[in-house]
Symmetry: C4
């Protein structure tokens, strides 16, 4: 299957990276990820914006998801234009030039046993 699947804009209203954790890094580092599937035959040029409760959004962060590849992007690894602050509520908006599918996951290892969440992100159907 080499078709474009999904949407070009996705939103994740939840976002929070705990500032500490338990267990060996990087697997048990408290983190959030945007898992992205690009099933199309074209590379996806992706832009991401971070929204906060008390200041203007930052972005775009830019990265590539190659054709027929998945990228599990850790928000912890975003550094340009700036690192995402820890212990801070945020939300994110993702825009791609080809359709993609996005799922949101967090591993919270602040306590001795890790906790996990995951949900399909919100697919935006209006054009941008």
């Amino acid at each position: 299957m080499e078709q474009a699947i999904g949407h070009k804009v996705w939103a994740i209203a939840e976002g929070f990276i705990p500032s500490y954790g338990n267990g060996p890094a990087p697997q048990f580092t408290s983190h959030e990820a945007a898992c992205i599937l690009n099933a199309s035959a074209q590379d996806a040029n992706v832009k991401l914006w971070i929204y906060f409760s008390d200041r203007d959004p930052i972005g775009p962060y830019k990265f590539l998801v190659p054709a027929k590849r998945t990228k599990h992007l850790r928000f912890n690894d975003l550094h340009e234009p700036e690192a995402i602050p820890l212990d801070t509520d945020y939300a994110s908006l993702i825009e791609s030039d080809v359709p993609i599918v996005v799922q949101h996951t967090r591993l919270d290892s602040r306590q001795a046993e890790n906790a996990l969440i995951s949900t399909i992100a919100f697919p935006v159907t209006s054009s941008v």
Copy 2:
């Protein structure tokens, strides 16, 4: 990106705030949150109703999500018209005057290690 994204009405059928927890407050207080993203250029005036199994719904609770901001609203922090009872099944309905995106999250710290859930809320497409 300064566009309105999402829907004006959202529903969350799950709701339960445990009455106790473990770990330092407020981060490890057992709580539920409606994470809301307002990506539009207009402030969002939001109303929220709480539904119960055995009595009439209460609300509206009213709050603002400023333009280009996210608000991770803790249900625990709702007090007007009345606090949400703990250890009680509930559901919620959220209505905004501009499109928003809503994700539901619970942290349950009743046991020594916290458990987390999160899911995209249900976007209502019919008008209200």
Copy 3:
């Protein structure tokens, strides 16, 4: 808000009730729930079918969700036409005569610390 919100048919493809747990009953009994919101002004007459991997579906289970009420139905509490077997993969289909919203939740307390999952169920748009 007194309008009908949601869909009349919902599917939950995941289903598994662990046969044991830790902690005081009924809160920490391993269980699954279909959280249902009936925001309409009419009572919802709901039917539920359980699908298995190796035998014909059973049902309908029948119950009521009153107008403007939520019901967090524990699958563990279904007994008529028969109890749902434990430690068994299943799925469920829910049909209502008025639109409802359904969210699926499991508490798994087999180990000392409970684990939780929750997701919006799948809203079926075709008529039945």
Copy 4:
């Protein structure tokens, strides 16, 4: 109810099978599952492709979900054309010849207490 419900193509952007776990096998083996409901009166012939971050997708894996049955497919159990590597980011695409409903679940038992995630998969509305 004997109707076909759902979609013929589904995507799951998240995927990661931890390489170890705690607790008795197979229930507490760290695993991922695609929970599939085939509510139709016809058997579903299902194909599944696995996408990676750094190499071409593999598949199709082929399996059957009989009419009016659910199958909770463990990705750990896929062996033909090849086993899915552990501790590796992946995503999946599922195609069926009759409509189905898909939900994604992971049990992560790397630490002493298991963690769980689950979400409805992404239903693809375009034809393939």
